[in-house]
Amino acid sequence: MSDRKPTAAERAAEIITSYDGPPIRIMEVCGTHTHEIFRLGIRGMLPENIRLISGPGCPVCVTPVGYIDEAVWLALEKGCTLCTFGDLIRVPGTELSLAGARAKGAKVEMVYSPVDAVDYAEAHPDEQVVFLAVGFETTTPAACVAVRKAKEKRLSNFSLLTANKTMDNAYRALNGAADAFLYPGHVSVVTGTDIYQKLRDEVGMSGVVCGFTGPEILTALALIVRGVQKGEPFFANAYPRVVTDEGSPEGRALIAETMECVDTEWRGLGVIPQSGLKLREEFAAFDARLKYGIPPMEGRANPACRCGDVLQGILRPDECPCFGTACIPEHPVGACMVSDEGACSAFYQYNIE
């Protein structure tokens, strides 16, 4: 090798791989981080005393079974056309996934954007279109833009089935699950970084806002290692090229003007107060639950599934009794095995010696 100066990524990797202190548990709370960390083989370079835990950051994984049941009911009982992100298609409901419902005649359209679902509704006036609105602060503004556009166009055949979630109280519910958190870069784009300073100051949680490329993930991990070594709760933004301190006031305003906070269920974590969103009164006509009078759905998850424990870092995916036997990506028992961003799916697919 030449004498060239090591790159930032190499310097970061050196800090990570040479760490030999007490064990550090780092939780990533973004499914895309989980996905990229596996895709880039970053787990393989970590020393034994640094453990990564895949937390509840994949919207598919935290969406309760009852939500899928509601969607299936809308499609099969009410004949609605479901517009959805591809991510949700294979998530098991109590009896059927959306793919299963499609095989029984349900109309399921994949879209790239919630606004595309509005365009679809406008182009198909004889269909009742429901967009399955899942996602966190990053994704919710797009759903808000969609519903506002539908209202502006006076569409009577478009509605949202909301399961949107917010992260702040979820972080608090996870306090103690890890020594430090890799905060989700694109959620932070909207929220800004105040919430992390508060988490540090109010409840002593540590973490670093992290981007999604190799150098970004490595530098964020290096910051965490150094931060933990300092021994005090810390926060840093390792993704400043995209995430600003103030975040996106426009994005937050879009959400606040369209939706309001509610208590909501997270698969595996139970109900977290004020961590969900539903449409405001003035958009009630676009709320699929009100529009169709969806009956309460209990949503029974397979009792053998331990996704909840996995999402909290209590159980490693491969420690679940279903893992790799009853539960594989082709026949998932739980949501974490469905999504490419799910911890179990990632563990299964990237099982490298």
């Binding site: 503004p141 694109h186 784009v189 530098t219 150094r226």
Partner: protein, 73 residues
């Protein structure tokens, strides 16, 4: 949770931006960024430009590593 795509804004009109990533073009909402202009680079998610991108990841990584101790507050 939130797949982001870095892309260049090529056109802007009435809250809609045309973005280009390696030749792949799509219309997205620009309602989340007040002062967007053609030529800007943005992060795109689910049909929305969610943030401006102000540099590349490698330069940022250099800054982060150079300022390691100061960043940790």
């Amino acid at each position: 949770m939130c797949v982001g795509l870095p892309a260049k804004v090529t056109e802007l009109k009435d809250g809609v931006a045309v973005i280009n990533a390696g030749g792949a073009e799509r219309e997205v909402s620009s309602e989340m960024i007040a002062d967007l202009a053609p030529g800007d680079y943005v992060m795109v998610h689910a049909g929305m430009a969610i943030a401006k991108i102000t540099g590349d990841d490698e330069a940022q990584a250099e800054d982060v590593m150079d300022g390691l101790e100061d960043l940790l507050s």
